[in-house]
């Protein structure tokens, strides 16, 4: 298990050096995007329209923050990760079309996304779900927001983060997944649970 302190944007080599189980701290730009922003980004890409942000220049963060308007700018209040599996059907194409290399979220993603990560050199970083104040503390500044018409949670927020973490490498670019390791153990435990409950 290694600790990595990375500055964004990261190179393909940086990402391929990460191993499932490693710890990562990120400094640089994070772009938030959830269901709606994923859908719009892919729609725009497929229409040949330019996106308002370069997802390959920062980390993609599955997050819908609470923001407070302060003068002309925004103040971050709470910004923990959202459930990544909701983006399972969109993420492989998103990685391919935007060049995103680091994806921060919670709960992990499916095999199809893992395969896209292996092919294009991307990794999945898990942050503790619900730890929204911890996360907000690591954001120095809110640089801006795009697609606010989607609503506060679904907009693309541009966050300037410092030592954002600790993040656990949940899925690496070599096809390893901590969530799949856990799933194998759960399968065994489920057999014992069924016996214990008299339904085995």
């Amino acid at each position: 298990m290694t600790d990595h302190h990375l500055r964004l944007p990261v190179s393909e080599e940086d990402v391929r050096n990460l191993r499932a189980g490693d710890m990562v701290y990120l400094t640089g730009i994070l772009h938030t995007a959830r269901d709606e922003a994923h859908m719009r980004a892919l729609e725009w890409k497929n229409e040949g329209k330019e996106l308002p942000v370069r997802f390959d220049q920062g980390a993609l963060y599955h997050c819908g923050p609470i923001m407070k308007k302060e003068g002309e700018g925004w103040k971050i209040v709470a910004a923990g990760p959202t459930t990544s599996s909701r983006m399972n059907t969109l993420e492989a194409e998103f990685i391919e079309k935007t060049g995103a290399r680091l994806i921060i979220g919670k709960g992990g993603m499916n095999k199809a996304v893992g395969e896209a990560m292996r092919r294009y050199g991307a990794a999945y970083l898990a942050f503790t779900g619900g730890a929204a104040v911890l996360a907000a503390q690591r954001v120095r500044k809110v640089n801006g927001v795009h697609w606010l018409d989607l609503g506060m949670p679904e907009a693309v927020w541009v966050l300037d983060a410092e030592e954002f973490g600790p993040l656990t490498v949940g899925m690496d670019a070599g096809g390893n997944s901590l969530f799949e390791d856990v799933a194998r153990k759960i399968e065994k435990n489920a057999v014992a649970a069924r016996k214990r409950l008299g339904i085995g």
């Binding site: 298990m1 189980g21 709606e36 997050c63 819908g64 923050p65 609470i66 407070k68 209040v77 709470a78 910004a79 923990g80 959202t82 459930t83 599996s85 909701r86 919670k106 709960g107 992990g108 898990a126 503790t128 779900g129 619900g130 730890a131 929204a132 104040v133 911890l134 907000a136 503390q137 989607l150 609503g151 506060m152 949670p153 679904e154 600790p166 656990t168 949940g170 901590l178 969530f179 390791d181 856990v182 799933a183 153990k185 759960i186 435990n189 489920a190 649970a193 069924r194 214990r196 409950l197 008299g198 339904i199």
Partner: protein, 294 residues
């Protein structure tokens, strides 16, 4: 004549919202501390440490502990005469969304348009219970989507019996996996009709941790399911570990002899709820939080 003023109810509801999203009830915080102590692997220990550190920071700064401040579900026990509760709660929700602030989460189910104030058709949602007590009791449960999205219900056949209920519980938990932010509280409804059953599952989430269903047969099933499923190995945030559950609560209702409904509503580790009683003399008692009102 009204015996409790609209303004007192509105202020109390805003305070309940603030308490609910910034500080967990004592029973939940104690359970999370116990689980932190019990976990021994690096991954699960680290997740629990982040959870506890986050709770401390949220309380200290008075900010929402999770950015998903949920959809707002209210449970009201009617008592003495008061104004239009729904109107007052809607005003308080709009105010609380700005003042605390809460994340505006409520959207139209088809157009997905977000009005930005947590108000919409049937939102916030209010469950009413008639009461004969001399106070008005209001509970708010801010319900996040990560856990809510893992809810399931099944209309089993009576012949599948208790075995069917256990199969359903195991399958639902395995399917939810890491998604609902474990360690989770499972609320289960058994009996009633489809709508009653899911409502019971939600109400089961309001019970304090460590409480039991008063019916011995149901209480024994709660314990059996908790003991078997807590050690399933999903662990804190799904990264593996000794504890997967905060608790397993079941509420039941009699049902049609030909029906066997069962439902599960899941609550994340941030098992938020806040309750207050408002008395006609203006006294407000906070039941879920020790330092009420501040």
């Amino acid at each position: 004549m009204k015996s409790i003023s609209d303004a007192l109810i509105e202020d109390t509801v805003v305070e309940l919202l603030r308490l609910a999203v910034t500080k967990l009830p004592e029973d939940v915080e104690q359970a999370l501390k116990r689980i932190f102590n019990e976990e021994s692997e690096v991954a699960s220990k680290m997740q629990m440490q982040a959870i506890l550190e986050n709770l401390r920071l949220a309380q200290q700064s008075g900010t929402p502990l999770c950015q998903d401040t949920g959809i707002l579900v209210f449970f009201v026990k009617m008592g003495p005469k008061c104004g239009n509760i729904e109107d007052i709660i809607r005003k308080a929700v709009e105010r609380g969304t700005k003042e605390i602030p809460l994340r505006p989460n409520a959207v139209h189910p088809l157009t997905r348009k977000n009005p930005g104030n947590n108000l919409g058709v049937h939102m916030p949602y209010i469950y009413y219970e008639p009461g004969s007590e001399d106070y008005l009791e209001i509970t708010v449960m801010p319900k996040g989507a990560g856990s809510e999205n893992m809810s399931q219900m099944a209309m089993l056949t009576p012949s599948s019996g208790e075995k069917g209920v256990k199969e359903f519980a195991l399958a639902t938990l395995l399917r939810a996996g890491s998604n609902p932010c474990p360690p989770v509280l499972i609320g289960m409804g058994i009996g009633g009709s489809a709508d009653i059953c899911m409502g019971l599952a939600k109400k089961a989430l309001l019970r304090p941790l460590g409480s039991h269903n008063p019916d011995p047969a149901v209480a024994s099933l709660e314990k059996e399911l908790y003991d078997a499923l807590n050690v399933i190995g999903i662990g804190p945030m799904g990264l593996g570990g000794k504890n997967t559950l905060l608790g397993f609560h079941i509420e039941h209702a009699f049902c049609h002899t030909a029906s066997h409904p069962v439902a599960i509503n899941i609550q994340c580790w941030a098992a938020r709820r806040a309750t207050a009683r408002i008395h006609p003399d203006g006294k407000v008692e906070y039941l879920t939080h020790r330092k009420g009102g501040k």
